[in-house]
């Protein structure tokens, strides 16, 4: 009997955790998918249907409507909420941020990974230290400076702030990839007479393309989702609102129906999620590369 007792505890635990594992998986699926399903569901419902039966997780064919999307996308002159304009602003700021950040981060990452220059150790530490400082600490002086320079309520000013916020993590991600490119390739290029800049442009950049894309996507996501600085700089000027800011400002009021704003949330979420699924592999590897080194 005693010999049987020991394996039975292992068996019991084995079975228990087998069941628990399934429960956890189901739980995780529910908590991650349900909110997004709910978002999608409410966005195609008329507001009366929501108020009548708030608990319903289905939609009947007769209730189904796309007028919420019409409402939210139409310009304000036509009585809509003008989200097309917001989308355009967001796209401009985000793409501008991606371009500028990569332009600054690629040489930076290359230098940090390859070149022994004066202070090359301190530089990467300095860049990472940027994250120690709260955005609110930056918000105060930037708010004042931008107000003074007339850059508040300008998309360019916002993009500059985003660049500063994303450059350090971009350098970190790119650096992790660049160190995996063998140095001998570069030496071969140098022997063939490539200058340093040519080497970067013609040898390193093509090889680092996957990492460049992952980094670019990550920057895009940060810029697209950002809220605090958009709120601080642009709140006064509805023409310049980004989608995030527009949605937040409108959801404070009561005059716009919630289902219309839900359509706005879907519009805000879709670009990021589509991009993310298109490149999920790239992105998760880019983010965590280096995490599995012990």
């Amino acid at each position: 009997m005693t010999r049987k007792a020991a394996p039975s505890r292992a068996q019991f635990e084995e079975r228990l955790f087998g069941v628990l594992r399934r429960l956890v998986i189901a739980f995780l699926a529910v908590i991650t998918l349900l909110p997004f399903y709910y978002m999608l569901l409410l966005s195609v419902k008329p507001i009366d249907a929501l108020l009548l039966d708030p608990g319903s997780l289905w939609i009947s064919a007769k209730d189904f409507t796309l007028s919420t999307y019409h409402d939210v996308l139409r310009s304000t002159d036509d009585g809509g909420q003008g989200f097309v304009k917001f989308l355009l602003n967001s796209a401009l700021v985000s793409l501008g941020t991606v371009a500028l950040t990569l332009l600054a981060a690629v040489p930076g990452a290359y230098a940090v990974s390859r070149l022994k220059f004066f202070g090359h150790r301190q530089v990467s530490a300095l860049f990472l230290a940027v994250y120690l400082f709260p955005a609110t600490l930056l918000a105060v002086p930037l708010f004042v400076i931008f107000a003074r320079m007339g850059l508040s309520s300008s998309l360019v000013g916002l993009a500059i702030v985003y660049v500063a916020q994303t450059v350090p993590v971009s350098i970190y991600m790119l650096k992790n990839y660049l160190v995996t490119i063998p140095y001998s390739i570069e030496e071969a290029a140098a022997l063939d007479g490539c200058s340093r800049l040519q080497t970067v442009r013609k040898v390193i950049l093509p090889l680092a393309l996957p990492s460049l894309m992952a980094t670019g996507l990550y920057i895009f996501m940060i810029a697209w989702n950002e809220f605090l600085f958009a709120l601080l700089f642009l709140a006064a000027d509805p023409d310049k609102w980004t989608v995030s800011l527009g949605l937040a400002q409108l959801s404070n009021g009561i005059e716009v129906p919630k289902t219309v704003l839900m359509a706005g949330s879907v519009v805000l979420t879709i670009p990021v999620v589509v991009l993310f699924f298109a490149a999920e592999r790239l992105l998760t590897e880019g983010l965590t590369s280096g995490a599995d080194k012990s």
Partner: protein, 339 residues
Amino acid sequence: MTTAPAGAPQRRATGPRSTAGPASRTSRPMTASRRANRAGLAFVSPTFVVVLVVVVLPILWTVLLAFQKAKLVDIQGMGLFGHWSLDNFAQVFDSAGFWSSLTTTLLYTAGGTLGSVALGLVAALALRKPFRGRGLLRAAMLLPYVAPVVAVAFVWEVALSPQYGVVNDWGRRLFGWDHPIAFLSTREYSVHLLGVHVDVPLALLTVIAFECWRYFPFAFLFILARLQAVPHTLEEAAKVDGATPTQRFRHILLPQLMPVIALLCVLRFIMTFNKFDDVYLLTGGGAGTDVAAVRVYDFLTARYDVGAAAAQALVLAASLMLLLGLYFKFFGNKVQEES
């Protein structure tokens, strides 16, 4: 090995171009290390300038502003060094909400950090072995993290609403709640459980739950990556020796995961401590959720009191540094191992 063929055509392509190069170059040769030094500095400078102008200088100015009387209207005509005073700090420390706000911030940060890392760990363990639809679920689980905060906060707000929210409706149907619960605007919710009366800070707990939900994917990603690098042989050996799953986790997996867990805790702690958007969007800082970051924003935009806002932000940053300093003093070696 695989990169060699990729490099070869590059070499050929750059060949003819580079022959034209040396003629225009300076005739004075530099040593390789000096060239590397110069190129390195040149390559880093754009980043350095941006970070200096938009991060370092503003922070220094915050420090100056914190010690000055500065309202937004005065600042237009003010020089860099105005009227020195410690009024801002006096105001920050004396004001009614300061200490309670700091406590709230700490509770929020600790809850959000531990919750998201724990949930991430559980998720990583559950998704460790392959099953049908694992890839799909793995991707879906990152949704809360990648989706825009404004959109997900709005979904939570609607779902938790006492008037038209799905949660209260289901609560009424399934658990027989008498009154709808206003999750995001109830400071203290009285719970009667087995004759014991407890006041629960409901809004704060809801905000913490949101934080856990939104950031567990981050922890999940990192822990899963580390988990897949753990050699299987160790666990198999333990299994053969009759170790139960809990024992295998406690004595084999956990020690290997500890460094990454510690690193995650530090990262999440820093980020949650400074978090503004989530709380601002969900509750606006009301109902006992007035975290320090939201207070800074209020000082800045409601009263246009730049000096007080700067002082508050500075106190916030200093407390974070202090906490981190304490942490590294006691547990520093674990994090260093990982990074």
